[in-house]
Symmetry: C2
Subunit: 288 residues, 2 copies
């Protein structure tokens, strides 16, 4: 079966999916993106992703390339054409093609490209759920991390540092010594009192859709949580830690900078939240 990509109105074979070299996404990182998980043919938290997309586009004054409803149709068409049961949708929207000039061009059409890919089915057996290591690095990103922009070079460099250190993720530390988040995930700890803690949403972090879902689940299940900054010392002193993202789901963290978190195993509350989140994924429908 030929893998199909979507590029500005056309469904094309993946290998031929191309954009003009003067697309502002390519020359200026002038665009935004979303990644949405597909579980059993349904998109997970579709509404949350589209709401955040609307925020990102609005902050950058980039027009929607089509209506929200049409975008939802394209996503479903891509799932069907690529016969995806479990996987990921990736799409990005740029300000469009224009002669190179920093300021916004007049009269360009926003560009939309989309890919989907298969993932293995959800596996939450003990063998599949393993803990990961994180390192800590300075947060060198720009000041508007709430916008899910494709201006991701600092995130790339941070993830590469993690990779070279044999870690799954790098947690980034701001000028006040507090952890903001991971390079492609949000950071969570559980302190000795059993409180769940994650950084409050502001311009300092990307407000993850999985983060929001976990907060909703914590609220519904009566788990005490607080959204506030925490520093590396508090993280290393925590009883449990984990990261959340569309691709990582709820992933236990067992070491920070080489030091074991708690007893070095997967935390009890982390396992519980992962279980809640798995049920949340399974409960998704595909209604537009």
């Amino acid at each position: 079966m030929t893998r199909i990509a979507y590029v500005n109105g056309r469904y094309v074979p993946h290998g031929q999916a191309a954009v003009h070299i003067e697309d502002r996404g390519y020359q200026f990182a002038d665009g935004v993106y979303e990644v949405i998980a597909i579980h059993q043919g349904n998109m997970v938290d579709e509404k949350g992703h589209l709401d955040r997309l609307d925020h990102s586009l609005g902050e950058l004054q980039i027009a929607w390339p089509m209506s929200r409803q049409s975008l939802q149709v394209v996503m479903r068409e891509m799932i069907l054409r690529n016969r995806i049961t479990n996987g990921m949708i990736y799409f990005q929207i740029s300000r469009g093609v224009a002669t190179r000039n920093h300021a916004f061009p007049d009269d360009t059409e926003s560009a939309l490209v989309m890919t989907v890919r298969h993932s293995p089915p959800l596996d939450q057996t003990a063998a599949a759920v393993t803990g990961v290591n994180v390192i800590t690095i300075p947060d060198i990103r720009w000041a508007r991390r709430d916008i899910k922009s494709i201006s991701l070079l600092p995130n790339v460099l941070g993830k590469q540092q993690a990779s070279e250190a044999g870690a799954y993720e790098a947690w980034m530390i701001d000028g006040d010594g507090n952890i903001t988040e991971g390079t492609s995930s949000n950071a969570w700890i559980v302190n000795k009192d059993g409180d769940l803690i994650t950084r409050d949403a502001s311009h300092a972090i990307l407000n993850g859709i999985t983060r929001l879902a976990v907060l909703d689940l914590a609220r519904a299940e009566g788990v005490t949580f607080v959204e506030r900054p925490f520093d590396v010392a508090e993280a290393k002193d925590a009883r449990e830690a984990f990261v959340t993202s569309t691709t990582s789901l709820v992933k236990p963290v067992v070491r920070i900078d080489g030091d074991p978190v708690g007893n070095g195993g997967i935390g009890m509350l982390t396992a519980k939240i992962l279980s809640f989140y798995t049920d949340h994924m399974k409960a998704q429908g595909s209604a537009v």
Copy 2:
């Protein structure tokens, strides 16, 4: 005549110049660029631009897509094929095409795309040399501005703010209240003692090739200069101000945030430096 672009080894009509949607330049802003002026068929400060390119690529661990000498051949070929006498070369190099994943991929080939465009011939008559306005805005960029990366979204937003304010450029202010630079140019002032001042080169600014040329010219012509931070108050109290860049050359600044600089006209030293720089451009040869 068909305008020709260069894309990964091929010379193609501009309208067909395209890159794959999984080029990391498009998905992650994982790439660098240079803009080089062409004066009377010759590239201006070619060596300086290629040296800086080497710095940018090295800092990001992106491989040269071809040897420096081959890149010089492609630039000359582009000037010839597009019959450019006066204009600009733009090229960017990304880490290449790979399945989307933040960390560096294995075994990708760096991607190279290039365009050239015509400009009007150099005109330094009094009517052509006019002063411009700048505004000041917070510097919200990442911490590695010395790398000439395509991760330019904050610069785009800053330039747009300038444009909406009817200004030519926005000077960006760091956390200490000092001006770093413009969104696509370096910032200069001349104080009441007649000293030429520009921010020192560090990770805080892009070390402009025109900036370096002006410093060399100042040295050669016996103009006193100092490289150090300066704040908005000092800039507004200055006798003269100007910006430098490949596209702006030496451009007099006559207003900062609406307040006139000096007597509101083009400064004497600024005019002198523009004259030196014009001679410098005219003296360029095309030897590889």
